[in-house]
Symmetry: C2
Subunit: 527 residues, 2 copies
């Protein structure tokens, strides 16, 4: 039986709080000791990845206390409860089952007589079957031509995760003859978003996936209408070009407006839905069902590691614990995610949602205000680009920002050039290694303007190549890290009440039922 306690009630947390500023990264990363840390402070991840935390502000004593904290806050037990079907999302009284969409975790979870694992598998198979038929030319447009493009219409979790994963594998897929269809995404209610996408494609050869769990997301329904108008104007029957990904109880579920409907349910939150039909339909159409299955396999392998009780063998839990130390003891408000991989250009935006929407809360899971800070601000861009941009502040600014690097030994496409004796890939990897040390150790200089204080902690996830498996492992790592941090802070990471007020007020503006400042702003904007 698990108990849900606030972080600041835990003896191990009080002990941890006494270890503030214990480790100087500049000191411990110097000399032979630094090299030794690089070897020792590394945890294997799935799909050949490894999580290296040598340049974090931890030592064996802090790690021991973090292990106590993991135990006292029952992280492993809570994860087990979660994947075995407890009502972890207490606010909405829901189970949290995105791990089950990766198939392997835990016991059978039966809800209202439905085996949820079988349900998710059946939806994956439906998506795979549909994709295979499209690829084989068994499902075509009215003229009997193959569909060449798939357009995802969704916002938030129905957009950021699937889009980040598509961009991450697009070039890999081209190199590996796995790009079956080009994918595009329409998300914003800004009409220029849909208009620009529609102008860039041949609508007669395009399939559109309307993704909304409730079937009531205003942006998505608006963009669906936008697309239907365009199809009709092109003399096409929208129902022969559109699919729905939605819940079985949604208005979209049994409509004749769609070629097919693939189902999700309330037990997989939007920001965790890349592994469900939300990611599955578009990625199976774009890359084929096998590639999507490989992403899930990588994620499932990482999930298994996340169940380990030894934090040193659980990279997801360990990352969460170190992040908690940085946020609550060291007091750092932000974390930067810095992948040295252009293919991961939108991965930070996905993590920004996943993390900030999950743990950006001020009340605990019982609705009581907490007396400590919770989720940090997450931002990031790929390196080496960021080095020529905001890294200046990271190196020499007045605030310390913990860093999360990601790097791969090999590129996806394999085209390269040797300049000054090294390939571009070697330069890319040399830069990330150099940055870790530059941030950690700094450099003294007579001129204070050229001085680097160092003491700026980072970790790095290293892999051989960004493949479907390693991408899935990366995705699951961060999902699990965020989940564990939610357990540590005792918040409900699976609701998002903070998005409701804006929606409500926007409706009032559109109904012209406003006064005061809201009416004044509406007037300024000519609404």
């Amino acid at each position: 039986m698990v108990t849900w306690n606030n972080l600041d009630t835990l003896a191990s947390y009080q002990k941890l709080a006494g270890l503030k500023n214990r480790v100087s990264v500049a000191d411990v990363m110097s000399g032979d000791n630094g090299a030794d840390r690089v070897t020792r402070y590394s945890a294997p991840m799935a799909a050949g990845l490894s999580f290296n935390y040598a340049a974090k502000e931890v030592d064996d004593e802090i790690l021991n206390v973090l292990a106590e904290l993991a135990k006292e806050q029952q992280l492993a037990d809570k994860f087990k409860e979660l994947y075995n079907g407890a009502i972890i999302n207490t606010g909405e009284k829901r189970l949290v089952l995105h791990h089950l969409a990766r198939r392997q975790m835990g016991d059978a979870v039966i809800v209202d007589g439905v085996d949820k694992r079988e349900f998710y598998v059946s939806q994956q198979e439906k998506a795979a079957d549909f994709a295979n038929k499209v690829h084989a030319g068994e499902i075509t447009n009215a003229a009997g031509e193959k569909f060449t493009t798939v357009v995802q219409i969704g916002i938030g979790g129905s957009d950021l995760g699937p889009r980040a994963l598509y961009i991450a594998l697009e070039n890999w897929a081209k190199e590996n003859d796995a790009l079956k269809m080009e994918a595009k995404f329409i998300s914003n209610v800004d009409p220029d978003d849909a208009a620009a996408v529609l102008k860039s494609i041949d609508v007669s050869r395009s399939l559109f996936i309307v993704v909304s769990k409730s079937g009531t997301t205003l942006e998505t329904l608006t963009n669906e209408s936008f697309v239907k108008d365009a199809l009709k104007k092109a003399g096409l029957d929208p129902s022969k070009h559109m699919l729905a990904v939605t819940s079985e109880t949604s208005p979209l579920a049994k409509s004749d407006d769609y070629l097919a409907a693939v189902f999700m349910d309330d037990f997989i939150g939007g920001r965790y839905s890349s592994s469900s039909a939300v990611g599955g339909v578009v990625l199976s159409l774009a890359f084929g069902p096998d590639v999507f299955a490989r992403i899930l396999a990588g994620a499932a392998e990482e999930d298994k590691l996340a169940a380990n009780t030894d934090i040193l063998e659980n990279p997801d839990m360990l990352d969460a614990l170190i992040g908690l130390y940085e946020r609550n003891v060291q007091g750092y408000p932000c974390t930067a995610v810095l992948p040295y991989s252009q293919a991961l250009s939108r991965f930070p935006a996905h993590l920004q949602q996943c993390d900030m929407e999950s743990n950006g809360k001020s009340v605990n899971r019982f609705g009581e205000p907490v007396d400590y800070v919770t989720g940090p601000i997450i931002f990031g861009e790929p390196g080496t680009n960021g080095q020529h941009s905001f890294y200046q502040l990271l190196h020499q600014g007045t605030d310390i920002v913990p860093l999360q690097f990601v790097g791969f030994k090999n590129s996806q496409i394999g085209m390269d050039v040797v300049i000054e004796g090294s390939t571009s890939q070697a330069k890319l990897c040399a830069n990330v290694a150099a940055q870790i040390i530059a941030f950690a150790c700094g450099k003294d200089d007579e001129n204070p303007n050229k001085k680097f204080e160092g003491g700026r902690p980072s970790s790095i996830i290293i892999g051989d190549q960004l493949t479907p498996e390693s991408l899935g492992a990366l995705l699951a790592h961060f999902e699990n890290k965020i989940m564990f941090q939610g357990f540590l802070w005792n918040v409900n990471s699976f609701d998002q009440e903070g998005v409701q007020l804006g929606k409500l007020l926007a409706k009032r503006v559109l109904a012209h039922e406003t006064d005061g400042a809201l009416k004044a702003f509406s007037d300024l904007l000519d609404i």
Copy 2:
């Protein structure tokens, strides 16, 4: 004569520090007073934009003290010194002349006998002339075919600004028959970046612009070689496909490897170079020289406002001062930039560089450590997308993040659809108005999980439409805001010593001249 003083030596700053938590945004934005503030707390900007700060934590008394601070720190005088050619970049002993590239500011600036205004104008004319010849088919490929694509090869300031501006106007240009050539960008040393771009274009119909002030930027030279290889493999002569944008003293300047070289100089920093040849060549090729001139005209009009001594008639200075109050008195470490315009999707990334690289400093302009915080962390994504993502934390997280909204009354493309009685554009605008009030005023609720504290300050820049002029004004507004904040903090906003150490260590890694932790990481990454 101006004097350069640290912020904390100023009497007006001490007075300001005594006004911490003076204004509750939730209180002042309620009722009739809120409507009144929306009307009063607005400053006209160039190109029909306006800067509305009604929902900021200020009142008339704070504004008075901010005006005193502006005067005591001599913001207007310092700006005047800058645009009249003083050596403002003291670290590198350079003038700071990006305003002059917009033509109108100040006296003649003569350096080594060269009138710099004439120099920048001459380079714009060279770029315009070249672009006109390409568009007219006077400069073609070897087969006599017109060039259809332009690829910018550059990183940092040579990438983010021009790319953000191109994306901002791409759809506008298509609607206004101004899209002359498609533009692409190669920046990252990750070989997959260049490879993916090269695979997406017809190299025989493409022009490539190599952008490097020094002519020694490793990423850019590497990617240039990458492109040259591809051109040679396609049986093409690279020198007939490439241009250089560089300084007159760079190795690229007088090389036969390029069709033309357009010059910049050391007095326009990379992150402020969108108005120079760095933005001018690619944007003139993509949209035509007239459109680029319109961007500059909008920027120049905003620059003129930035010279006003009355802060209430100087939106750039006012924004800077309010930001300083938030950062140094209220203690907020971040600022989010949230444009309600999909076209501005990469504008936050450009501002992130411009701001964090300029003011992410710990020493003043004399190289002495400062005892106060300087530049904040900047991040952002377009709305309404962000509403379904990280806004949860902004509304209900434990930290307050000041917000900078941008909104336009009209879309760029003009395609729209009416759903539930309103257009998409109206929904977009209704959402940004609603968010300002939701953040400011919050909402009480019996259930603390559904409660919104409010008290989260924001400002909004409102315009009719995103056009070349309003985009130029927007660009200049933020550049000037950052400059004024640099003056306030007494830092040198125009150098970036913080990027050097990483470069140095990366070279050592590539030369295999490392030991300790750096060698250990290099080994892990197979370098």
